[in-house]
Amino acid sequence: MRIARAIWPVVGLWVVLAAIQIFASTQSLVFQRDVVDMLINVVLVVGLYTFAGNSGVLSFGQMSFMAVGAYATAILTIPQIQKGFLLPDLPGFLADAHLATFPAAIVVGLFTAAVAAVIALPIVRLAGLAASLAMFAVLVIVHEVARNWDAVTRGSRTMIGVPTNTTGTVALLWAMAMIAVAFAYQRSNSGLRLRSAREDEFAARAVGVDVTRERAIAFVLSGFIIGIGGFLYAQFQGAFDPNAFFTEITFLTIAMLVIGGMKSLAGAVIGAASVSLLTNLFDSIENGLDLGPVHFGGRPGLSALLLASFFLAVLVWRRQGLTGGRELQLRIPRRPAA
């Protein structure tokens, strides 16, 4: 019973996501794609949470790692011949590189984590808002490089031909795995030390927590998870350009995290899932709805308008987010004493 209670925060989230995916597999193809999209968002927001939620430092640039992951996926998984046409100027060793899907995912994750480790060196030394803004600067730099480095990223042209292997099941398994990784981290010694620094940095330092080091660890792990998110995204869409990894996804993932509740893993997952599903619902309203006798015309911009109103309403009424920053808890009624 103690074990069940200890792992429930993870298992409970697994059950919710698996239920949605199983339900989706009986529904239309459009809805199935919406659910894959949702699961990818779950991975991205869990990655963002691993750094921002545990450290309390909001990052405006974590989606740079999604870009790194997606472009690395393109280079590792587009078949060589096609790559010769798409990226004629690619350096030799990259032109010849090719991996099967699963090893590619692992390599992409590790590569993104390595990039995150380099960026972490200066970033984690900064406090609070300065770190958030420095990460925004990183986002702009990554975006500019992706837009102009024609030899590797095709510049601002669309990267095409990525094999589309991200099915609902694949996305679900990765989302479950990343949730487990994030939970294991937040319950580890390093994770707990970082969370103590989030609550009171000076007190944590006073009892010997090396805040910079713990932040760096969370940052690199966050890079790994978001890199996997970029991998799933690239292999789901098959085609993307640098704008897919810029301000829009940044704001959306941050909003998902804050709407769900920034301080808990459950908040990250529930925020990502609910906002993704609502976005798709609002999109269908924007395209016009037939509700029996009532036909609703629809209008461009309406979806974003509804979504923004939803954000504001949640923030004003529940400023701690939907979960209030708590994890899922298993409530089993105690057996009455004999």
Partner: protein, 294 residues
């Protein structure tokens, strides 16, 4: 020599625009600890109001547009920020994202996603020739309005009771309230001033570009954020200097960067931002009093 002077004029005019925007952002940040992403949408509101009031005489048109922006800012503060006062920084931030997102999509719903052309008097887009120098009238208007607004605000902040209270609130909101500064009136005034600056900046941007779009405010506001960081977050004077500094840097990079690196111009600007944050978190220009205190 002429080209050099021409570049100087560009730099000062661009810097004036950035300074107006940066000051509006720094004012709200100093008092509320809120990085107001919705500031850009105040510019957009100004732009669309100019379009709506296109049949009025020019001066009236501009005044009406600025008035609409100020009213909009006060409504936004009442609905989206006042209920969240004292909340976590992240919550305030997402709230301002949401407002910005809401207003942009509202603009698309109401006005459509195509750019709207705004006709302003012809003399605004003409040039003044001084010797071999061609000075665009809009540059003169930009520099002059920045000079007038900044000196008026300088007077307001130093010589009037409300201005002094606002500086006190920006320095330390809690202590200021203890000595009798009224939170609501200070914050309302801050939003009104910030909106006034955004409204004027909106007019200047429309006068330069000639059109209004739903997302016209986003890019200038990101640049203004950079200017406030360079000037030291929360410092009002610093923000103004930061704006002018950034105007100069942008023009210098545009002129001096080799052609092959020019597409990466923004990357260099933001790389510089990271260095500023790392090496001089209190801003490049350190002023007597730093307002960035928890």
């Amino acid at each position: 020599m002429t080209t050099f002077l021409q570049h100087c004029i560009d730099a000062i005019s661009l810097g004036s625009l950035y300074a107006l925007l940066a000051l509006g952002i720094a004012l709200i940040f100093g008092i509320m600890r809120l990085l107001n992403f919705a500031h850009g949408e105040l510019i957009t509101i100004g732009g669309y109001s100019l379009w709506l009031f296109r049949d009025l005489p020019a001066l009236l048109q501009i005044a009406a547009a600025v008035a609409v922006v100020v009213i909009a800012a006060l409504i936004i503060e009442r609905i989206a920020f006042r209920p969240l006062r004292g909340a976590d920084g992240a919550v305030l931030l997402v709230s301002s994202f949401a407002v910005s997102f809401l207003l942009q999509s509202l603009a698309i719903v109401v006005f459509g996603s195509r750019a709207k052309g705004v006709a302003l008097p012809d003399w605004l887009s003409s040039n003044v020739n001084v010797g071999s120098l061609r000075i665009p009238v809009i540059s003169i208007v930009t520099v002059a309005s920045a000079a007038v607004l900044l000196s008026a605000l300088g007077y307001f902040f130093n010589r009037t009771p409300m201005g002094v209270q606002m500086r006190a609130a920006a320095e330390n909101f809690g202590t200021a309230r203890l000595v009798g500064v009224r939170a609501d009136s200070v914050i309302t005034t801050a939003f009104a001033i910030s909106a006034l600056l955004a409204g004027i900046a909106g007019f200047l941007l429309v006068a330069q570009g000639g059109t209004v779009t739903a997302n016209m405010g986003t890019a200038p506001v990101l640049i203004a954020f950079v200017a406030t960081i360079i000037g030291g977050l929360g410092s009002l004077t610093g923000a103004v200097y930061g704006g002018y500094f950034l105007g100069v840097v942008t023009v210098v990079l545009q002129v001096a960067l080799p052609l092959s690196l020019r597409p990466y111009r923004d990357a260099f600007v933001y790389l510089a931002v990271i260095f500023v944050l790392l090496l001089r978190p209190q801003g490049i220009i350190v002023l007597r009093t730093s307002l960035l205190r928890a």
